[in-house]
C-alpha cells in the first residue's frame, strides 16, 4: 500500500461523508422550512402535473434563462449537458458491469470533456468581459470555475497525455465502495484530478452548487397557482388563528 493510496482512501471517505451529510442537512432544512404564501411566478400552472412539466422545462432546457440571456443560456446548457455526459462516462470507472446506455455515451461522446472545459472558459470569460457580471463576481465565483476547469483539464490530461492505468484505477474505486482496499496507480495527473474532485465534493454543500437542490425547492417555480380554490396555510401561520 503506498502513502498515496492510503491518503486518497481516507480523503474519499471523508469527502463522501461531508458531501452526503452536508447535502442531507441542507435539503432537510429546505424541506422543513414552510412556504407560508403562494408566490408562483405567473403565468403559472394550476395543476401538479403542470408544475412537474414546468420544473422539467426549467431543469432540462433552462427555460427562464433562455428567455433571459441567450449567451449565458448557450454556455450554461453546453456546460451542464457536457458535464452530464462526462459524469455518465465516469460510471465506467465505478460499475462492473457498466450499464449499456453508459457504454453508449462512452462510445459516442469521447470529446464531451473538451466541450465542458470550453463552455467553462466561456462562462469565466463573461466574468471578466461583461461589466455587470464582473461587478457581482466574488472570489468564490472565480475559484469555482477554476476548480471545474482544473478537474476537466486534469481529466483530459489523464486520457490524452498520461495514458492512465484505468483497470487499476477501477479496481481502486470498486474497492473503496466495497471496503476492500486496492492500490492506486502512481500518476501525477491522476492525483491532481482526484484531489480536485474530492475538493469539489467537500465544497459542494457549502457553495453556490446548492443551486442543484435549490432549483427543486424554489416556491416561485414549484407552486401551483390555485390560492383562491384551496386554502394554503403554514403551521406557524395557523397558530395566529388560535389567538
Amino acid at each position: 500500500m503506498t502513502v498515496a493510496t492510503i491518503f486518497f482512501t481516507v480523503l474519499y471517505y471523508a469527502a463522501a461523508a461531508i458531501f452526503v451529510v452536508g447535502m442531507v442537512v441542507k435539503i432537510a432544512s429546505f424541506v422543513r422550512t414552510p412556504a407560508p404564501l403562494k408566490i408562483p411566478t405567473p403565468p403559472a400552472p394550476t395543476t401538479t402535473g403542470g408544475v412537474l412539466l414546468r420544473m422539467l422545462r426549467e431543469i432540462v432546457l433552462f427555460q427562464s434563462l433562455f428567455k433571459s440571456n441567450r449567451w449565458i443560456w448557450f454556455l450554461g446548457i453546453l456546460f451542464h449537458a457536457s458535464l452530464l455526459l462526462v459524469l455518465t462516462r465516469h460510471l465506467f470507472g465505478f460499475l462492473q458491469p457498466t450499464w449499456f446506455w453508459a457504454v453508449w455515451v462512452q462510445t459516442y461522446f469521447p470529446y464531451a470533456g473538451f466541450v465542458m472545459v470550453a463552455a467553462l472558459v466561456g462562462l469565466w470569460g463573461r466574468r471578466f468581459l461583461v461589466e455587470r457580471i464582473r461587478y457581482i463576481s466574488t472570489y468564490s465565483d472565480h475559484l469555482m470555475l477554476a476548480l471545474l476547469v482544473g478537474i476537466g483539464a486534469s481529466g483530459l490530461a489523464m486520457r490524452f497525455i498520461e495514458d492512465t492505468d484505468l483497470v487499476t484505477m477501477k479496481a481502486f474505486f470498486i474497492g473503496l465502495m466495497s471496503f476492500d482496499l486496492q492500490p492506486l496507480p502512481v500518476q501525477l495527473g491522476l492525483y491532481i484530478h482526484l484531489l480536485l474532485v474530492a475538493l469539489l465534493m467537500i465544497v459542494f454543500p457549502f457553495s453556490k452548487l446548492l443551486h442543484v437542490p435549490g432549483v427543486f425547492f424554489s416556491p416561485s417555480r414549484n407552486q401551483t397557482d390555485d390560492p383562491r380554490a384551496k386554502r394554503h396555510l403554514a403551521p406557524w401561520a395557523a397558530k395566529l388563528e388560535k389567538t
Partner: protein, 513 residues
C-alpha cells in the same frame, strides 16, 4: 445655498444595449425614515437602539427567524449562482445605472450578511465568498437600496431558479422595521388604515358625503339614479376598492365605471366604511401579521354585511394580496375545512370566484350579454394597456394561466375600437413596473420614480410615434398616481393614463337596457 435638485428624465435609449455602470449613482437617495409616533402606532420600536450591538443582535435574530419561516428566503439566499442573467432586468437599474439596483446585487446586500452569520463558508472565509459583518453602514445601505425596489418581481421571471428579489426586499424591510428603522410613507399609511379604515384617513361621514356628491353629479350627467351604496346590510356584492378611487383623478372615473356596471347589470352592491380600503401596505413591509391585520378588516366587513360575493376594484398590489393571499390570511376564498375559514366561506356564493376582480365580473357580464356598449364613444382614444407588475406577476384572473393579461384586454376591445399593444418584452409577464410601486410612491423618491419609469416610457413612446396612442389604460391605483406625476417629465399629458373601467364608463349603455 443649494435648492432642491432639479429632476430630469433620462434620455430614451436608441438601442437596448446596457450603458456603463454608474456606481453609487443613487446612494444618496434615501426616503424618509418613520418617526417614533408612526412606528409606535403600528406596534414597532420607535427608533434604532442607542447601542449598536443591540440593533445588530436584534437584526440577526430576526433574520434567523425569517429564514426559518420562509422557504423562499432560505432557498433564494443559497441558490444564486451569480450567473448575471437578471442584472439588466430591473427598471431601476436601467433608469439609474446604479449597480446596486441590479437584482442580484440588491440580493447580495443581504446575502453577504446571510453568509457571514448563517453559513460555514462565510464564517470561515468571509472575504472569499463576499461575506461581511452587519454594521450600521450596511444597515443604512439596506435601507437605501431595499427602498429602491418596487417588489415588482420582473427579475424572478428571468432567473433560472426563480429567485425573487421582492422576497428578499420584503425580508430586509421587515428586519429594518423590527429594529426601529421603518419607512415613513408606508408605515404612516398602515397606521391610518388600521385606525380610520383607509389609507387616506377618510372618515365614514366624509366618505358618505363624497359618494352622495358623486351620485348627484351622475344624475346631472346621465339623468339616472346610479347609486354608490355604503354599508348596506344584505347586499349581494361587497366592493373593496383603493381609497384613491373616491377622489383622485383619474381613479374616480373607474369608480364611476364600476357603479355603472352594477347599475346596468342590476346587481345589488355596497361599499363598507369599516373596510373602505383595498390597499394593503403590509405587503410592502413583508410583515405577515401586519398584512393579515389589514386584510382581516375585509373579512369582518363581509361577515357583518352578510354579502354573498366579494369583488375588488382596480389596484395592483392589493389584487396580489387578495388573489394570492386572502384565502391564506383571512379565509376569503374556497376549499377550506378549518372552522375559521368555513365560517366565512359558507356565507359566500361559490358559483363565483371569491374574491373576484372587477374585471372578471365585468368580463363575465359582457360575455353573458348583460351589459352593452357603444364602442364609438371611445373613438377619440387610441388605447394601449400597461400591465401592472403585481397583477401580471403576482396574481391571475379567470380560469386559465394568463387570464390576468387577457381579461383586461378583452374588456378594452369590447368597449373601444382602437387598441394597440406596446412592444413585446415590455408587456404581460415581462412588463415593466410603472416605477412607483412597492411603497415608493412618495415625493422624496421622485428622482427614482422618474428614472425607473424609463423603460415603460420608451415602450409608450414607440406606440405614440407609430400608432398615435393617446391613452394608456391600467388597473392599478399606484400606476395611475405614478404616471400622472411622471408622464409630464417625458413630455406627455398626465391625462393620458386612466383605468380600464374609465373606458367602460365612457361606452356603457345605461338607458336602453
Amino acid at each position: 445655498m443649494t435648492g432642491p435638485k432639479k429632476i430630469e428624465a433620462p434620455a430614451l435609449r436608441q438601442s437596448t444595449a446596457v450603458a456603463a455602470l454608474q456606481p453609487d449613482a443613487m446612494a444618496g437617495l434615501k426616503c424618509y425614515v418613520a418617526n417614533e409616533k408612526i412606528q409606535q402606532a403600528i406596534g414597532l420600536p420607535g427608533k434604532l437602539a442607542a447601542d449598536w450591538q443591540e440593533t445588530h443582535d436584534a437584526a440577526i435574530a430576526k433574520m434567523g427567524e425569517l429564514l426559518g419561516k420562509y422557504r423562499s428566503l432560505k432557498v433564494f439566499m443559497d441558490a444564486c449562482v451569480h450567473c448575471g442573467a437578471c442584472t439588466d432586468k430591473c427598471h431601476y437599474f436601467i433608469g439609474t445605472g446604479d449597480p446596486k439596483n441590479m437584482p442580484v446585487a440588491r440580493q447580495d446586500l443581504m446575502r453577504s450578511v446571510y453568509r457571514r452569520y448563517f453559513t460555514e463558508a462565510g464564517k470561515l472565509f468571509p472575504d472569499l465568498v463576499g461575506a461581511r459583518d452587519l454594521s450600521k453602514e450596511v444597515l443604512d445601505e439596506w435601507y437605501t437600496y431595499y427602498w429602491q425596489c418596487s417588489e415588482c418581481r420582473r427579475c424572478s421571471v428571468f432567473c433560472p431558479f426563480g429567485i425573487d428579489t421582492a422576497e428578499v426586499t420584503m425580508a430586509a424591510r421587515h428586519i429594518l422595521d423590527t429594529v426601529g428603522y421603518g419607512q415613513k410613507y408606508t408605515n404612516e399609511i398602515i397606521g391610518k388604515v388600521n385606525n380610520i379604515g383607509n389609507n387616506l384617513g377618510l372618515s365614514g361621514p366624509a366618505l358618505q358625503n363624497t359618494l352622495e356628491g358623486l351620485e348627484e353629479d351622475l344624475k346631472e350627467d346621465t339623468g339616472l339614479d346610479i347609486k354608490f351604496p355604503l354599508d348596506v346590510q344584505g347586499a349581494e356584492v361587497l366592493l373593496i376598492t383603493p381609497s384613491a378611487d373616491f377622489f383622485a383623478e383619474p381613479h374616480i372615473e373607474s369608480l364611476i365605471g364600476y357603479g355603472k356596471v352594477f347599475h346596468a347589470a342590476g346587481i345589488s352592491w355596497t361599499l363598507s366604511s369599516h373596510a373602505s380600503e383595498f390597499g394593503n401596505f403590509g405587503l410592502f413591509n413583508g410583515d405577515y401579521e401586519m398584512m393579515r391585520k389589514v386584510a382581516l378588516r375585509v373579512r369582518k366587513a363581509a361577515l357583518e354585511l352578510g354579502v354573498k360575493r366579494i369583488v375588488v376594484g382596480e389596484c395592483g398590489h392589493a389584487w396580489r394580496v387578495a388573489y394570492s393571499f386572502w384565502n391564506t390570511l383571512t379565509g376569503i376564498g374556497a376549499g377550506a375545512d378549518d372552522p375559521f375559514a368555513v365560517q366565512l366561506q359558507s356565507q359566500l356564493d361559490h358559483r363565483y370566484k371569491q374574491p373576484a376582480h372587477i374585471c372578471e365580473l365585468t368580463w363575465d357580464l359582457i360575455q353573458q350579454g348583460r351589459i352593452k356598449f357603444d364602442k364609438s364613444a371611445n373613438d377619440h382614444r387610441i388605447i394601449t394597456f400597461h400591465d401592472s407588475c403585481n397583477v401580471a406577476r403576482g396574481s391571475r384572473m379567470g380560469d386559465a394561466p394568463g387570464g390576468q393579461f387577457e381579461i383586461p384586454r378583452n374588456i378594452i376591445r369590447a368597449v373601444a375600437n382602437k387598441y394597440v399593444e406596446m412592444p413585446q418584452g415590455t408587456t404581460r409577464e415581462a412588463t415593466f413596473c410603472c416605477g412607483g410601486g412597492g411603497g415608493l410612491l412618495t415625493d422624496e423618491l421622485l428622482e427614482l420614480r422618474v428614472k425607473g419609469a424609463l423603460p415603460r416610457m420608451e415602450a409608450l413612446q414607440q406606440v405614440v410615434d407609430q400608432q398615435g396612442v393617446n391613452f394608456m389604460a391600467t388597473i392599478c391605483a399606484i400606476c395611475k398616481a405614478q404616471f400622472t406625476k411622471v408622464l409630464p417629465y417625458y413630455n406627455h399629458k398626465m391625462s393620458m393614463v386612466g383605468g380600464v373601467h374609465q373606458l367602460v364608463s365612457t361606452a356603457i349603455r345605461l338607458g336602453d337596457k
